[in-house]
C-alpha cells in the first residue's frame, strides 16, 4: 500500500489542480473542422431563443463557420456588453441594449460597418434604414429588425375568466370606463383571481406603458416631449389622467396583490397561471406566454390600447425603426459577421421572427403568412391602423447625437413616480411630474451646452416640429 504523506498529498493535489486548469484553458471543441472561423452572437430576445439557436446552427453550415448563439437577459445585457468591451471580448454580433447614440458607438469603436449588398437591404421595407439611427455618413452600422409600428400596452386577457365574468371576448373593453366596469365584473365573481396585474416592480415598463396611455389619452408627443414645441410636459393632463386611472384601479382592489414587486416576467407568469383576468402587455406577450406556459396559449385574447374617452381615436407615435443588431468593432471577421446579419433579411428569417411572436418584424405583412396565433395577428392589425411615425430631433439633425451622449440619467423616472404614487409614497402627483419635466429640461440644456462646446451645431429648436400633424406619419421637410 502506498503511504500518502503530506508532501505527496500536496504534490498530487497540485498536479490535479494544474491538470484541471490546463483542461479549462483548452478551447472547447465544437465539432467543426480545425480552422473554421468562429462567430459569437449575443442577443436579449427571450421569445426568439429557440429560433435563434436553430438559425445559428443552420447558418453555421451555410456560411462554413462555427456560430454560437447566446441569450442574455435584457436587464443584464448592457452590463454584459460593457464588461465584454472592457476585456476586448465583444461578441461578433450583438443586439442593441446600449444607451448611447449610434455616432458615439461608432466613434468609440463599438461597431464595424455592416457590409451588405443593396439587394439584401432592399428586401426590407422602404424607410427601414435611417441616417443617424441605423446609418452614419451613408454607411450601415445597425440592422433594423422590428417594426416601429407597435406599442407595449395592448389589453391582453384570459378568455376563460372573461367568459365567466360575462365579458364578450369579441368586444373587449376599449375605454377607461369600460375597463373599470370589466374589472368590477371579474372582482364580483370572487373566483380566486384578481381583475388584472401589472409589472409595477419594473419602472422601465411602467414608463413605456404610461407613455402609450398618455398618447392614447391625447398627449401630442412621446416620452414627455411635445412634438410641436419640443418642451417636456410630463405634467400634461394626459399623463396625470392615465396614472390616476391606474391608482383608482389599485385602490379599488382590482390589481393582483404583490404586483408592486412584479417584473414583467413575474407578472406575465402569474397572469398565465390564471391569477388575473387582464394584463396590459406588448405583442411579445404571446411569445412570452408560449415559452413559460404553452397550455395557456389557447386562453389568450386581446383588445387594443385603452383610450381615455369614448369617441376619441387611439393614435400612437414612434420614431424610426431602431438598430437592433450590430457587428462588433473588434470582430476578427466583420465580413462574415455581416453575412450572418444579411441572412436576417431573408424571407425565411423574417417568417421565423414573426413565428417567435416577439416584437413584430419590420415587414408587418409577413405576420399574416407566418405560423402565429390569431390574437398575435389581431394585435399587429391594431398597430397597422393606429401607430404612426413620430418626428425625431436626431433624424433631422444627426449632430443631436452629440448632445444625447452627454445626457445624464434623471431620477426618479416616470416609472418610479408611478410606483411611488400607487404605493402612497408620493401624494402630489402633478408636482412630481412637473419636477420630472424640469429635470429632463435641465439635463437637455446641459447636454446641448456641452455639445455646442464640442463644436456640434445643435439647439433647443431642433426638438420642435411645428409642422407635425396628428394621425399621420411624419415626413421631414
Amino acid at each position: 500500500m502506498i503511504e500518502l504523506n503530506r508532501r505527496a498529498f500536496l504534490g498530487a493535489g497540485g498536479a490535479v489542480a494544474a491538470a484541471a486548469f490546463l483542461a479549462a484553458c483548452k478551447p472547447q471543441s465544437s465539432g467543426a473542422p480545425a480552422g473554421t472561423p468562429d462567430i459569437r452572437w449575443w442577443d436579449h430576445y427571450s421569445a426568439l431563443q429557440k429560433f435563434h439557436d436553430t438559425w445559428a446552427a443552420d447558418q453555421s453550415k451555410k456560411l462554413g463557420a462555427n456560430i454560437t448563439h447566446t441569450y442574455n437577459d435584457a436587464s443584464k445585457s448592457a452590463q454584459a456588453l460593457q464588461l465584454a468591451n472592457q476585456s476586448k471580448q465583444l461578441p461578433d454580433i450583438y443586439s442593441n441594449t446600449l444607451g448611447l447614440p449610434l455616432s458615439a458607438l461608432v466613434q468609440e469603436k463599438w461597431l464595424s460597418e455592416i457590409t451588405m449588398p443593396q439587394e439584401s437591404q432592399d428586401r426590407l421595407p422602404k424607410g427601414s434604414f435611417t441616417e443617424g439611427v441605423t446609418n452614419l455618413d451613408g454607411k450601415l452600422y445597425g440592422l433594423p429588425l422590428f417594426s416601429f409600428r407597435q406599442y407595449s400596452t395592448a389589453t391582453w386577457f384570459n378568455k376563460d375568466i372573461a367568459a365567466k365574468a360575462g365579458i364578450d371576448a369579441g368586444s373587449p373593453p376599449l375605454t377607461y370606463d369600460e375597463f373599470r366596469a370589466a374589472c368590477k365584473k371579474v372582482k364580483d365573481l370572487n373566483g380566486g383571481f384578481a381583475a388584472m396585474t401589472l409589472a409595477l416592480g419594473d419602472p422601465g415598463r411602467m414608463r413605456d406603458q404610461m407613455d402609450d396611455m398618455a398618447q392614447a389619452g391625447g398627449f401630442a408627443g412621446y416620452q414627455g416631449l411635445k412634438f410641436a414645441t419640443g418642451e417636456y410636459a410630463y405634467h400634461d393632463d394626459a399623463y396625470v389622467n392615465g396614472i390616476e386611472f391606474w391608482k383608482e384601479l389599485n385602490d379599488s382592489g382590482y390589481i393582483l396583490p404583490g404586483s408592486s414587486n412584479f417584473t414583467v416576467a413575474n407578472a406575465r407568469t402569474r397572469w398565465a397561471s390564471g391569477a388575473a383576468a387582464f394584463f396590459p402587455d406588448g405583442p411579445w406577450c404571446a411569445g412570452g406566454v408560449r415559452n413559460v406556459a404553452a397550455n395557456f396559449v389557447p386562453m389568450l385574447e386581446n383588445g387594443p390600447l385603452l383610450k381615455a374617452e369614448k369617441g376619441s381615436e387611439v393614435t400612437v407615435y414612434r420614431g424610426a425603426p431602431g438598430a437592433q443588431f450590430f457587428v462588433a468593432g473588434n470582430s476578427k471577421d466583420p465580413a462574415l459577421a455581416s453575412k450572418l446579419l444579411e441572412s436576417f433579411t431573408t424571407p425565411e428569417y423574417q417568417k421565423g421572427l414573426a413565428a417567435g411572436m416577439d416584437q413584430p418584424p419590420i415587414d408587418l405583412d409577413v405576420v399574416d403568412k407566418a405560423d402565429v396565433i390569431d390574437p398575435y395577428k389581431k394585435v399587429v392589425s391594431y398597430f397597422k391602423k393606429t401607430v404612426y411615425r413620430a418626428p425625431q430631433a436626431v433624424v433631422r439633425n444627426p449632430e443631436i447625437s452629440v448632445a444625447q451622449s452627454l445626457s445624464k440619467p434623471v431620477s426618479p423616472l416616470l416609472g418610479d413616480i408611478i410606483q411611488g404614487y400607487l404605493g402612497g409614497d408620493i401624494t402630489d402627483l402633478k408636482g412630481a411630474l412637473k419636477t420630472l419635466s424640469d429635470n429632463f429640461s435641465a439635463d437637455r440644456e446641459q447636454a446641448i451646452k456641452g455639445a455646442t462646446a464640442k463644436g456640434a451645431k445643435v439647439s433647443l429648436d431642433d426638438y420642435a416640429f411645428p409642422d407635425w400633424k396628428p394621425g399621420t406619419d411624419y415626413v421631414y421637410a
Binding site: A78, Q79, Q82, N85, Q86, L98, G99, L100, A104, L105, Q107, E108, W110, A194, L200, G201, L256, P257, G258, S259, S260, N261, R270, A275, S405, S407, K408, P409, S411, P412, D416, Q419, G420, G423, G424, D425, I426
Partner: protein, 326 residues
C-alpha cells in the same frame, strides 16, 4: 539527516565561532527554502486578493475623479465634482439613512437572539445540541440570492404561505415586500434569520472559554440560572461582546444580494441601501455613471473604514478588559 542531528549541528554551529562561514549558508538556505514555500502558498491569495480587492479599490478612487459611462473610452477628469454631486443628491442621503436604520434593526437582533440561543445550546444538559447548532447554522451556508428569491414567494401577498396562514386565522393579508412601510422590516427579519447562525457560533466559542469550575463554584454558593448568567456569564463575555458587536455591525453593511433579490431597493426606493444606490448608478442606469457611482462607493468605503477603526479600538479595549479579568 534526522531532526536530532540537524538540531545538534545547528547548536554546534552556534557555539563554534569558527563555524560561522558554514552556519550562515545552511541557515540561509533553509530559511530561503522555507520562505519560498510560504510565498508559494501565499501566492494565490496575494494574487487573487490583489486583483479582486486591492486593484478595484484603487481603481474606484481614480474613477471617482472622472466622468465616465463605461461605454466610451473618454474619461474626463472632473476633480471632486462627483463627490459634490453625490453629497448634494437627496437620494444618497436617503440611502445612508436606510442603511443606518437597517443596521440598527438587524445588529441588536442578531447579537441578542444569537446570545440567548448560544447560552441554551451551550448547556450540557440539552440533548441533540449539535443537531440544533447545525440546524440554526444552516441558513448561513445557503446562497443569499436564492434565499432572496424564495422569500419573495414566501411573502407573496396573494399565494405565499405566510399570507395564507394569516387569512386562515381571519386576518387580512399583508403586502410585506410591496408596501414601503413594511418592506425594510421584512428584509431585516429575513436577514437576521439568515445570518444569526454565524453570530451564534461566535457566542458559543466565547461561552466555551468560561471554565465549568466557575459555574460549579457558583452553584455550590447557591446561585440560580439567572444569577449565574447575570454575574458570571455576562461579565466574562464582555470583551467578546465588543468584538462580536463590531463584527456584526460591519457585516450588516453587506446586504446587497439579499436586498437586490428581495426588493431591488423598492418599492419607491424604500429599501435602497447604499450598495443598491451605487449599483443603480453604475449598472442599472440607461447611461451608466461610473464616476458618480465610484464617488458614492468611496464615501461608503470611508464610512466602513471608520467602523473598522472603531473595531480595532474595540479589540484593544476587549484585550484590556480580558487582562483585567485575569
Amino acid at each position: 539527516m534526522s531532526t536530532t542531528t540537524a538540531k545538534a549541528a545547528l547548536q554546534g554551529a552556534r557555539q563554534d565561532p569558527k563555524a560561522g562561514a558554514y552556519r550562515g549558508p545552511t541557515r540561509t538556505k533553509m530559511e530561503r527554502r522555507r520562505n519560498l514555500w510560504i510565498w508559494l502558498f501565499l501566492l494565490p491569495t496575494v494574487v487573487l486578493y490583489g486583483l479582486y480587492s486591492i486593484y478595484p479599490i484603487i481603481a474606484s478612487y481614480w474613477y471617482s475623479l472622472v466622468q465616465w459611462n463605461g461605454f466610451e473610452s473618454e474619461q474626463t477628469f472632473v476633480g471632486i465634482s462627483n463627490y459634490e454631486a453625490v453629497l448634494a443628491d437627496p437620494a444618497f442621503w436617503s440611502s445612508v439613512r436606510i442603511t443606518l436604520i437597517f443596521m440598527l434593526l438587524v445588529a441588536p437582533a442578531r447579537i441578542l437572539l444569537s446570545l440567548v440561543l448560544a447560552v441554551v445550546l451551550n448547556s450540557p444538559k440539552l440533548p441533540f445540541s449539535k443537531l440544533f447548532r447545525t440546524v440554526f447554522f444552516l441558513p448561513v451556508v445557503t446562497t443569499t440570492a436564492i434565499v432572496g428569491v424564495v422569500m419573495q414567494f414566501i411573502f407573496d401577498p396573494s399565494s405565499g404561505p405566510i399570507n395564507a396562514a394569516l387569512r386562515a386565522v381571519g386576518l387580512d393579508g399583508v403586502n410585506f415586500l410591496g408596501d414601503s412601510s413594511s418592506a425594510l422590516f421584512t428584509v431585516s427579519a429575513v436577514y437576521v434569520w439568515k445570518f444569526f447562525g454565524i453570530t451564534m457560533i461566535y457566542w458559543i466559542a466565547a461561552l466555551q472559554t468560561i471554565s465549568s469550575d466557575v459555574y460549579e463554584a457558583a452553584k455550590i454558593d447557591g446561585a440560580g440560572a439567572v444569577q449565574i448568567f447575570r454575574f458570571i456569564t455576562l461579565p466574562l463575555l464582555k470583551p467578546f461582546l465588543i468584538i462580536i458587536s463590531l463584527l456584526t455591525i460591519e457585516d450588516t453593511f453587506r446586504a446587497f444580494d439579499l436586498m437586490l433579490t428581495m426588493t431591488g431597493g423598492g418599492p419607491f426606493f424604500s429599501t435602497e441601501i447604499i450598495e443598491i444606490y451605487i449599483y443603480r448608478w453604475a449598472f442599472a442606469a440607461s447611461i451608466p455613471q461610473l464616476g458618480f457611482a465610484s464617488a458614492a462607493a468611496v464615501l461608503f468605503g470611508l464610512f466602513v473604514f471608520v467602523v473598522g477603526l472603531i473595531q480595532l479600538w474595540g479589540v484593544y479595549a476587549a484585550r484590556r478588559i480580558q487582562a483585567e479579568n485575569k
